[in-house]
């Protein structure tokens, strides 16, 4: 039963993945002029041989549907084209920059989930009282703040004015990055036994993590509050209270467990928004991830690089949604039937 459910979900996401490649293909053809003008550096333009080579490689002289098949074939070989700002294959660039983004998004998620759920619980337990109003306000502010502006403010206050937290970058400039194994500084530094680098990495994650996670925090708090309120009004909670359980155990032990099921879905969905938000946050914090890579590429109209990032984020987004879906089915068996 469960296996069937999982298999069905995985099959359902395949057309979506194909759809994603269709969209990026269409976007790459939106360029008003010859797509080659966007893809090739100016120098290569003057060499007719190079132009001809690229034309053949991407089949630009063939009909559109054949071009799409060529595009798909290249994708399956991991060929995302070549970035003309870094002059490396986009796939190589993404492998290089992606771990930094994942590390940042994980930090943001940690903050969003812990603070979001805590705020939501406070809100629901003391609903319509001062604590609730405050928690709701914090959640709404989190949802309303433009992430790039919040990042600038946070740097200005906590780094420049107060000096409490480190500035941009993944580690202090006085330190050397740990030897690359996974690309995650937190893990690599521990593997290399460099404890000072590990601590410094954590330090550098705090500010961008909170900035990036603030939107997801607000969403999670709102979701937790409303679903906990709903659960708290159910009969089995009344029973638990009637048999004399301490309120704390009723809320944490009985109600929250069920209330968190819808929150799981929201956490999955907001992970996509975290990857997207990373585009802007990384720019502010000079964070060498795929977001900053994409923005650098955008200012130089380096389309293969932008589309590579777009494709990668969309694919991760689909996979995260798939996992969320499956997790939801495991947590709430009623879903599997539907």
């Amino acid at each position: 039963m469960l296996l069937q459910f999982v298999a069905k979900r995985i099959l359902l996401s395949i057309p979506l993945l194909i759809g994603i490649t269709l969209v990026t293909f269409v976007v790459s053809h939106l360029v008003p002029a010859d797509p080659l003008t966007a893809v090739l550096p100016e120098r290569a333009w003057n060499n007719p041989e190079t132009v001809q080579m690229y034309r053949e490689r991407w089949g630009l002289d063939r009909p559109l549907h054949e071009q799409y098949l060529i595009y798909l074939r290249n994708l399956l070989h991991g060929d995302l084209g070549e970035s003309y700002t870094t002059r490396r294959p986009v796939g190589t660039d993404l492998r290089l920059f992606f771990p930094a983004t994942i590390e940042l998004a994980a930090a943001a998620m940690l903050y969003a989930v812990t603070v979001g759920i805590a705020l939501g619980v406070v809100s629901a337990v003391w609903s319509n009282r001062l604590a609730d109003h405050l928690a709701r306000l914090i959640a709404l502010v989190g949802v309303s703040l433009p992430v790039f502006w919040l990042g600038l403010l946070a740097l200005q206050v906590f780094y420049a004015k107060l000096g409490l937290l480190p500035g941009p970058g993944r580690i202090d400039t006085r330190l050397v990055a740990p030897p690359t194994r996974t690309g995650f500084y937190t893990i690599d530094s521990l593997l290399a036994g460099q404890f000072d680098v590990f601590l410094n990495t954590l330090h550098h994650l705090i500010l961008p993590g909170i900035v990036l996670g603030s939107y997801a925090m607000g969403i999670i708090a709102r979701m937790t509050r409303s679903s906990l309120l709903e659960v708290l009004s159910l009969d089995y909670i009344r029973t638990a209270r009637a048999k004399g359980l301490a309120e704390q155990r009723v809320v944490i032990g009985h109600a929250l467990r069920n209330a968190l099921i819808p929150t799981v879905t929201v956490v999955g969905l907001t992970f996509g928004s975290l990857l997207a938000g990373a585009v802007l946050t990384e720019t502010i914090f000079s964070w060498p991830g795929i977001g900053r890579y994409a923005v650098d590429a955008a200012t130089k109209l380096d389309l293969p690089a932008i589309l590579g990032v777009t494709l990668l984020i969309a694919v991760v987004y689909v996979i995260v949604n798939l996992i969320t879906d499956i997790l939801y089915g495991i947590l709430d068996p009623r879903i599997r039937v539907g």
């Binding site: 759809g19 994603i20 976007v27 403010l153 200005q156 709102r222 802007l280 720019t283 955008a298 969309a314």
Partner: protein, 301 residues
């Protein structure tokens, strides 16, 4: 024939009731009681007024430079300080509303129109048309909005107009989905079957009977989306794909402010303007959701 359809389309009960007792009137009263929503509405109206009147009221050229006055911090003569070319940041922020406010409303309006037409057609037609239209919507929805908007804006080339087109492209599918779901739900109701049995034409059915019953969730979504569209516009300008620097667009101003890190006022105030509009729209959207759906009153999210 015509006589029959006319009788079906008028709703005599609702017509005789005074406005305040109609469902819409009740919702309006509910909304008026919600202080946060009213505060939001107030701030929003303020910004709309500023956006439409500032160029007539404030004698100021947002592009004119005054180098002798550059980078001065906030003071009595320059409330929000001046930027690196000596331009008054306060007045530029006011003029910035002429970009962000219409951008937010127009993109959402366009996305809403496109999405609702697509969704209504899909829901009403069903079959392969429905399937094809919804798969296209799914494809766009598979991308986080800022990322796809960035790719489209980059492909079309930088500029505010292209940024707005990109935003419309990423916003319409959710309306299509909402609208389709609504149409499907309403289509199953007996009064639609009745009108159909009486021989009402399909287009007339859709416009007179189905559409008026699908508004509430879409209105709420649109209100919240205006804020999202304003942030998206500013975000694209911030990364250099929207409004181009001399223009006093809020996102572009923050971009300039980022480069002048120690002159904190350059980025802080335009951002505060964005935040105030978005917060206002969120308050209003939440209030509308509560007011339009009686079951949700007192709840939240």
């Amino acid at each position: 024939m015509t006589a029959t359809t006319t009788r079906v389309s008028t709703t005599p009960l609702a017509a005789r009731r005074p406005f305040w007792e109609s469902p819409l009137g009740q919702a309006a009263r509910e909304l008026a009681r919600n202080r946060a929503a009213m505060a939001g509405l107030g701030i929003l109206v303020f910004w709309i007024l500023v956006a439409f009147t500032v160029s007539f009221i404030v004698p100021f050229d947002p592009l004119k430079t005054d180098v002798s006055n550059r980078l001065s911090p906030p003071s009595a003569s320059h409330w929000f300080g001046t930027d690196d070319l000596g331009r008054d940041v306060f007045k530029r922020v006011l003029f910035g509303s002429r970009y962000s406010i219409p951008a937010g409303f127009l993109t959402v309006l366009a996305a809403l129109l496109i999405g609702c037409i697509v969704g209504a057609v899909a829901g009403y037609a069903g079959g392969w048309i429905d399937n094809a239209l919804m798969r296209v919507a799914d494809m766009v929805l598979a991308f986080p909005s800022i990322v796809l908007a960035m790719a489209i804006a980059a492909a079309l080339g930088p500029g505010l107009k292209n940024a707005l087109i990109a935003i419309v492209v990423v916003l319409w599918p959710e309306y299509a989905r909402l609208m389709r779901g609504q149409v499907l739900a309403v289509k199953a109701h007996e009064y639609v079957t009745a009108a159909e049995a009486l021989g009402a034409r399909r287009s007339r059915l859709l416009i007179r009977h189905i559409l008026p019953n699908t508004q509430a969730p879409i209105v709420v979504k649109a209100t919240l989306d205006v804020g999202a569209a304003i942030v998206l516009t500013a975000g694209l300008s911030f990364i250099g794909l929207g409004a181009v620097p001399p223009d006093p667009e809020w996102g572009a101003m923050i971009r300039e402010g980022q480069r002048r890190f120690s002159q904190w006022w350059m980025a802080t105030f335009p951002g505060l303007a964005i935040f105030s509009v978005v917060m206002a729209l969120n308050f209003l959207g939440d209030g509308l959701r509560d007011a339009l759906d009686p079951r949700r009153r007192g709840r939240w999210a």
